[in-house]
């Protein structure tokens, strides 16, 4: 047991000695791209989801509409089978909602009187906005369905893009590790050949290289996180200025800790796979003659 631990300790140390900062940096830069993309999408998701739940249509009524007219319209909307839900928003409530939005309360306070009309908010999966606009008492119809759909589609495209990027750069990580270890094995060809003659097993000879692949991946993952952290920090400085001018405290968030950890582990695993592919091939080719 202690011999086993000692042999692994020595292999780990040898792997550590062979670790090249430059290779870890290459892997880190490659991985930082999908990681940053993921962090950006995750930060934007809450904003997107709020808009893209159910396609909503807002019906703004004529300012001078009478109570009975409004009630008749409400009854008609509720009777319509294509409409999933109907919510009446009286002008007072609309004003209250709006004054809760940061930065707008002062504007509304300055107005003196309520400029907002009564409104119905209906949800429907069908495109009936044009039809609703013709109903009596309706002044204006706003359907956010179309651009909510567009936003959702854009988000899906961005997510797919990040996924493709992650897969490509993950493959690049395996290839980089494969090649690093191939070259490393070639430079140690003499030592490997002599070790085989003296009775070293393939797993003993390969062990430092497995550790090298694993460590290179892990360090690459950490480098990627550092790059993403630094880039988001820089970005947020500018975003803060922009967001504050809109009264928002929006910031791009760093990857959640669990996902950051997962990235590092995954990078390590891919490095190990690269090493495994490389060692398996190379060690068979180096046979003493």
């Amino acid at each position: 047991m202690s011999a086993w631990i000692r042999q692994h300790g020595q292999a780990l140390l040898q792997g550590l000695r062979k670790l090249s900062v430059l290779n870890a940096l290459v892997i880190g830069v490659a991985l930082s791209l999908p990681a940053a993309g993921y962090a950006l999408i995750e930060s934007l998701r809450p904003a997107g989801e709020r808009l893209a739940l159910e396609p909503r249509i807002s019906l703004f009524l004529e300012p001078q509409a009478r109570r009975t007219e409004v009630e008749a319209l409400g009854a008609r909307l509720r009777a319509d089978r294509r409409i999933a839900s109907v919510r009446f928003v009286p002008r007072e409530e609309a004003l209250k909602e709006m004054s809760e939005v940061q930065g707008l309360s002062e504007v509304i306070g300055a107005l003196g009187r309520n400029p907002l009309p009564d409104a119905f908010v209906v949800t429907s999966k069908q495109d009936i906005a044009g039809e609703l606009a013709k109903l009596p008492g309706v002044a204006h119809v706003q359907a956010d369905a179309a651009w909510a759909r567009r936003l959702a589609a854009a988000a899906a495209i961005a997510q797919l893009g990040v996924a493709v990027l992650a897969a490509l750069l993950g493959a690049a990580l395996v290839a980089v590790t494969f090649n690093t270890i191939r070259l490393q094995i070639l430079t140690q060809r003499d030592e490997i050949e002599v070790s085989k003659l003296l009775g070293a097993t393939d797993s003993f000879i390969g062990r430092p290289f497995y550790y090298l692949g694993l460590l290179q991946g892990l360090v690459g993952g950490v480098v990627a996180l550092a790059i993403v952290g630094a880039a988001l920090g820089l970005l947020n400085r500018e975003v803060r200025v922009l967001a504050e001018s809109y009264g928002s405290n929006f910031r791009f968030g760093f990857l959640p800790l669990s996902e950051a950890g997962l990235l590092v582990l995954l990078a390590g695993a891919l490095g190990w796979v690269g090493a495994w592919l490389s060692v398996g091939r190379q060690l068979r080719e180096i046979e003493p003659r």
Binding site: A3, Q7, D190, E191, V194, K196, L197, L198, G199
Partner: protein, 216 residues
């Protein structure tokens, strides 16, 4: 200890290196293998640690038939065979001491025990004072003695040496052979290939003569 039965070795391309070779070495025996270069000495020696496999016949080492040994079992066979080559195969990126330590790394000895064994092996070949030197600083004879120390550090039952004295002057060559004889006296089975018949005959030991791939 080593038994060849009707062994033949054909290399790809049809070249017949060995034909119908049969002999056996008893435990604790020392024998020389002579013959001109090209007679098949190196090929014969390479069959013992399974560097090459026979095309026909059987090679039994320490009770194991090397011809049918699985790839994964070969390292364990080699740990019991000390190999010495004409070109030493030392590693020049490390000290004499670390060269001798190499086989101990994968046979799981405690570090102190390993260092003790390496020093003992260097002592037996008379190089204890040079353990910190790089092999490149040593003479040819001294380098060959480092290779012998490395071959015996795991205390193998069999020592196989391929032309260990070929590139050495007469005095160094004799010293090397005396080291082999000393190991044989403590019970190690030794097989030494050499083309130098006058050197071999001086010891009055058993001589196997190869001619054109056959035992003459």
């Amino acid at each position: 200890m080593v038994k060849f039965s009707a062994v033949a070795k054909r290399y790809p391309g049809g070249q017949e290196a060995l034909q119908d070779v049969s002999f056996s070495l008893e435990a604790g025996e020392l024998a020389f293998l002579t013959g001109r270069s090209g007679a098949g000495k190196s090929t014969l020696l390479k069959l013992i640690p399974a560097i090459e496999r026979p095309s026909a016949g059987s090679v039994v080492v320490n009770g194991q038939n090397v011809a049918s040994l699985k790839r994964a079992a070969i390292p364990y066979l080699r740990r019991n065979i000390g190999l010495v080559f004409q070109d030493q195969k030392l590693l020049y990126d490390r000290s004499v001491f670390d060269n001798v330590m190499l086989p101990l790394a994968f046979s799981a000895h405690a570090p102190k025990e390993a260092a003790r064994r390496a020093r003992a092996a260097l002592d037996k070949v008379g190089l204890l004072g040079r353990e910190k030197a790089n092999p490149i600083q040593l003479s040819g004879g001294e380098q060959q003695r480092v290779a012998i120390a490395r071959a015996v550090v795991n205390r193998p039952a069999i020592l196989v040496a391929d032309e260990p004295t070929a590139n050495l002057d007469a005095e160094s060559a004799q010293r090397i052979l005396e080291i082999f004889v000393a190991f044989n006296q403590v019970g190690v089975t030794v097989l030494i290939a050499s083309h130098d018949r006058s050197l071999v005959e001086r010891y009055g030991k058993r001589v196997l003569r190869l001619e054109g791939g056959r035992i003459a």
